[in-house]
């Protein structure tokens, strides 16, 4: 069987990419080793969607994603629980205040709707917040959140309407090339021909790279997350506390973040310090004591909300915290959509359209700029400030 493009991975990036390629008329096949759509780490994503990054290309990609998320319900009458509540990065130290203020200047230049606001505004956005040492924070009102589960299923259904095909429980075991050009893929069940393949395998990107003898610098790390019972909505924004915390008993942590989703549940996630590299998704005993202390301290009223469930997911990290996107010089027809660093869900829709333009060769000047910034061959020195 021959396809215009084969996408490996039916997750946060693979599915919206399939939607974009199928929509632009490309005969698209998506392969995934798992039994159904979005069963990798998409379902571990907490659902935050922001254009608030420090890198221009990511801002632009996510701005387009937000347009897609925000217009989806109206366009297709399919509710993916999009809520435009904004993002707040909080500053409790002068150092963080300076850092945030300087990224805000940069972000504004790239066209992002964001401001550095004072602690009164933060208190208004996050009722009940403990304002001890709170200096202020960023507020980007156009950011938001959506249900990864619902959104991916919506993209999946729509992409199939446009003709994308999906094969589940089918593992890619090899990529066939001919004269340094992609020829197709081999799975545990069949062989498919295609001149273009897209690697959208999240935490497993490196394995696919190894099939073409390239070692992409994508290292998965695990983060734990949790969700509460639903209560009446009392705040809309994503709250990100970037102040690191010392915890001698259960382990230090960098930032943590949480928001209240459309159904009223609070979803939260923590970045451990040091990072926990590897693909272990089994829940640990340290996560809840670590994060709840911080959350209850920041927002005391949360002590009465009941935690319902926790889980652990993987962030495919790159050396600079930015994804690796686009064609590579080594093999013609191979396209990277890897290393999203836990931001695959927010990058996916915008990125999918960009990749579709890569294949159909309809790139504009902004696209070229983004692809340059996110190319595999870059130096990886420009570290993302808001990882």
């Amino acid at each position: 069987m021959e396809y215009d493009v084969i996408i490996i991975g039916a997750g946060s990036i693979g599915v919206p990419t399939a939607l974009a390629t199928a929509k632009s008329g490309l005969k698209t096949l998506v392969l995934d080793s798992l039994p159904s759509v979005a069963q990798g780490d998409n379902k571990h994503a907490i659902g935050g969607i922001r254009a608030t990054h420090s890198l221009k290309s990511k801002i632009w990609l996510c701005q387009r994603s937000i347009e897609i998320f925000a217009s989806w319900k109206k366009l297709y009458e399919d509710d993916i629980w999009w809520e435009q509540g904004g993002y707040c990065f909080l500053a409790f130290t002068n150092e963080h205040e300076q850092m945030l203020k300087s990224t805000v200047r940069q972000q504004k230049e790239y066209g992002l709707n964001i401001d550095y606001v004072d602690s009164d505004k933060i208190k208004e956005l996050v009722p009940g917040i403990n304002d001890d040492n709170l200096l202020g924070g960023t507020y980007s009102p156009e950011d938001g959140n959506s249900s990864p589960l619902l959104a991916l299923h919506a993209f999946y259904r729509k992409s199939r309407e446009f003709g994308a095909e999906y094969n589940f429980s089918e593992e890619v075991i090899d990529i066939t090339t001919k004269n340094k050009k992609i020829a197709g893929v081999k799975t545990n069940k069949a062989e498919y021909k295609a001149q273009t393949i897209i690697n959208a395998t999240g935490a497993h990107a490196r394995c696919i790279g190894n099939m073409i003898n390239i070692d992409f610098p994508v290292v998965p790390e695990s983060h734990e997350a949790g969700i509460t019972e639903p209560v009446k909505k009392f705040f809309c924004t994503m709250v990100i506390d970037i102040k690191p915390a010392i915890d001698k008993k259960f382990g230090n942590s960098k930032n943590y973040y949480f928001y209240q989703n459309k159904e009223g549940k609070i979803i939260f996630c923590l970045t451990p310090e040091p990072n926990i590299p590897g693909i272990d998704r089994r829940e640990t005993s340290s996560f809840l004591p670590q994060i709840t202390k911080r959350m209850v301290n920041l927002l005391p009223r949360l002590r009465n909300i009941k935690i319902r469930r926790t889980w652990r997911g993987l962030y495919p990290m790159t050396p600079d915290g930015n994804p690796i996107i686009g064609r590579i010089d080594e093999i013609e027809g191979y396209i990277n959509a890897v290393g999203a660093c836990g931001q695959g869900f927010m990058l996916g829709p915008g990125l999918g359209e960009l990749l579709s333009r890569v294949i159909t060769e309809k790139l504009n000047s902004k696209d070229h700029e983004m692809l340059r910034e996110l190319a595999y061959g870059r130096d990886y020195y420009k570290i993302e400030d808001l990882k």
């Binding site: 299923h153 949360l302 009465n304």
Partner: protein, 694 residues
């Protein structure tokens, strides 16, 4: 509804009245009671309305697992079945989403303790207690956790005497007493720490187990060995109206009635003729609640024949080959409609009947609570499993498997013991065996002297009668515990009545021809009232299937060893003396069918996931669209993502899969995640949370 002030078996303790307010109205409950029981006491069965469809919500699991009993207590959303009532508490229904109280006072957070132990036993029921006894007697450090305030698990709800072997598993003793005996034994073991009111909420990959101690302190335990004895949960059924307040499990009912001493219903109907349903029916009658009927889908009840007989002889109609069609009512249960099943499991047209009732008990089997075991195995933790969590069976079997698994742990630790494991396993298997069909027994021809009659015609593991006879005149065939008992008749029966009093099935009568051969005196066991009968009063004497007539009581007594079983003697004509098996006290009239309630319904009207209100129709639609992965079903419908985490709906959905022709091996199971029950965030942060109390 009211509280139970008299009970043939249970002691009624004096409890302090406490005042609380429900939507501003002052009401009374009792000290130590959970909110749900206090509301039931005041006839309040609707605890709130669901955010998705405004459907009325009420008590369901009575076990802290779901959140259908959510109420607002002093401003905080809490589970009514787990939260103690306190003086002056302000309670409101939880309508839609609750508001999180804006208590913004800063609180001090604390680190969680990590405690090491040799063995952690999860579950203080018959299996967990038996295991802890074995381990503690070998001086092994054990922490035993149980989520209830009293040890004993479901034993503490069982007012009937237990089956099994007297020597090994306290047969002939009431469940409530066995729970106490075992609880006392383990409480006195020096190396055993007992944590009641403590729920295990997660097993982590680093080998630690999260426990909410005393309901509000989070503790991590680091055990070398883990024993899961968490028991079982009740299965549900799908039918229209299955989520109406008033429809719940037999276990929840026993909790309300036998633990909290609430007369939780006026008229109950029961689905399921296994031991759980039959026993719940008898418990209802003991509490003065009418049992309108019982349906069993198969051609005969699956529970012990003696339990069934106990109900039948009290006039409870048992509808075999019948099932529930719908539970009817606007805001709460008002009636149920049943129908006869054809050979192809359809409802026979014209067989439908509707009965008025305010409570419907679901007793259609149990599922093991084994998720901790599977998690622990996945994480390579040294784990064992016993009791119903291992395999659903009687409590007598659980006591054996608890002991067996504990002995295995001892072996692993390297502590010598002389028990013969194989022998124990054989006995455990005997206790687990499904009851066989009843056999035909010969009517004894003898009509002189005095002797016991055994109305026991099913070979179940049970032998208390063989050991109480002071003349040693009762044996089972070949001395096998599963064989039927008989009277040896080598020596005279002295008419002491002990065999009558000890029989768990209330299936032994004593017949005395000595004074008058034409009108022998028959002695029956009675556990329906705590009042001693007066000589001369008339009682209705019954056989297993009919009323035999009213006769005068000639003697009534309680034996010292069996203080709750009244032995009532009645003089009967000899032609009925041998078929007479008991005395009936209940009024009749409530078992009649009412006008048929008929309302068309579709799959979309039947709820399968109660937490998220997902209908059978919705599930079926996705399955027909090719969804075979539980995780995908979760994502699409939210089924299994509610408070209970799929504990109730998973087996129901598996059944829908099978109905749709999908075989079990083609269904991808859903991922199981912690937490086992929802816990306030503050508990993990080491602070005292407001439990709606202070």
């Amino acid at each position: 509804m009211e509280n139970i002030t008299k009970h043939p078996i249970l002691e009624i303790p004096d409890k302090k009245n406490i005042e609380f307010k429900f939507h501003g109205k002052p009401l009374y409950g009792f000290e130590g009671m959970v909110i749900s029981s206090a509301l039931f006491l005041n006839k309040i069965k609707i605890f709130g309305h669901h955010v998705k469809d405004d459907s009325p919500q009420g008590l369901f699991c009575a076990n802290g697992q779901c959140s259908q009993c959510n109420v607002i207590a002093n401003g905080v959303p809490v589970k009514a079945c787990m939260t103690p009532l306190t003086e002056g508490m302000m309670i409101e229904r939880c309508n839609g989403l609750p508001e999180l109280p804006s208590e913004d006072v800063r609180v001090e957070v604390r680190d969680i303790n990590i405690i090491n132990t040799d063995v952690l036993v999860i579950g203080g029921g018959p299996a967990g207690l038996s295991a802890t006894k074995v381990l503690g007697e070998s001086n092994i450090d054990v922490i035993l956790v149980d989520d209830k305030s009293k040890l004993g698990g479901k034993l503490v709800l069982q007012t009937h005497k237990f089956f099994g072997s007297q020597k090994d598993v306290y047969a002939g003793t009431r469940g409530i007493e066995i729970g106490k005996i075992l609880g006392d034994v383990v409480s006195n073991l020096k190396s055993v720490k007992i944590w009641v009111n403590s729920i295990a909420i997660a097993i982590f990959s680093d080998g630690l187990v999260g426990i909410i101690k005393d309901m509000d302190k989070y503790v991590l335990i680091n055990p070398k060995y883990l024993l899961i004895a968490a028991g079982a949960r009740e299965k549900m059924l799908v039918f229209p109206g299955n989520t109406l307040p008033g429809v719940y499990g037999a276990g929840a009912f026993q909790t309300l009635v036998n633990r909290d001493l609430i007369k939780a219903a006026e008229n109950v109907f029961i689905i399921g003729g296994g031991n759980v349903g039959l026993i719940a029916g008898y418990h209802a009658i003991q509490a003065g609640i009418n049992v309108v009927g019982l349906v069993e889908a198969l051609s005969q009840c699956g529970g012990y024949k003696v339990h069934e007989d106990k109900l039948r002889r009290l006039g409870v109609p048992i509808y075999t080959n019948h099932t529930v069609i719908s539970a009817n009512g606007q805001d709460k249960l008002e009636s149920i409609t049943i129908g006869k099943l054809t050979d192809s499991w359809d409802i026979e047209p014209g067989s439908e009947k509707t009965f008025a009732c305010d409570t419907l008990l679901i007793a259609v089997g149990l599922d093991p609570v084994d998720e901790f075991y599977h998690k622990a195995q996945q994480f390579n933790i040294n784990v064992w499993i016993a009791g119903d969590a291992q395999e659903i069976a009687e409590a007598s079997a659980a006591m054996f498997t608890g002991k067996i698994e504990a002995l295995k742990i001892l072996k692993e630790i390297g502590v010598p013991n002389s028990e013969n494991l194989e022998e124990l396993e054989d006995l455990a298997n005997l206790m687990k065996a499904k009851p066989p069909d009843p056999v035909q027994t010969e009517v004894i021809g003898k009509e002189e002297g005095i002797f016991p009659l055994f109305h026991c015609n099913q070979e179940i593991p049970c032998n208390p009668c063989t050991s109480v006879c002071p003349q040693e005149q009762i044996k089972t065939v070949d001395d096998l515990i599963t064989q039927l008992p008989y009277f040896i008749d080598d020596q005279d029966c002295i008419g002491c009545g002990k065999c009558v009093a000890v029989c768990p099935g209330l299936a032994i009568t004593l017949i005395d021809y000595r004074k008058d051969k034409e009108s022998p005196v028959v002695t029956f066991p009675l556990e329906l009232t705590s009042e001693k009968f007066e000589v001369g009063r008339t009682v209705m004497v019954v056989s297993n299937d009919r009323n035999l007539g009213e006769f005068e009581v000639t003697r009534a007594r309680f034996l010292k060893e069996f203080p709750k079983t009244q032995l009532v003697s009645v003089k009967l004509p000899s032609e009925i003396a041998k078929t007479a098996v008991g005395i009936k006290l209940m009024q009749s009239g409530y078992t009649e069918a009412m006008n048929l309630y008929q309302q068309p319904y579709t799959d979309d009207d039947i709820i399968v996931c109660r937490c998220e209100r997902v209908s059978v129709g919705e599930i079926r639609k996705w399955i027909r669209n090719g969804v075979h992965d539980f995780n995908e079903l979760k994502a699409l419908t939210k089924t299994g993502m509610g408070a209970c985490g799929g504990k109730t709906c998973t087996s129901l959905i598996n059944r829908i899969f099978r109905e749709e022709g999908i075989t079990q091996e083609n269904i991808i199971p859903g991922t199981k995640r912690p937490l086992f029950v929802e816990v306030p965030m503050g508990v993990f942060a080491g602070i005292k949370t407001k439990k709606g109390g202070k």
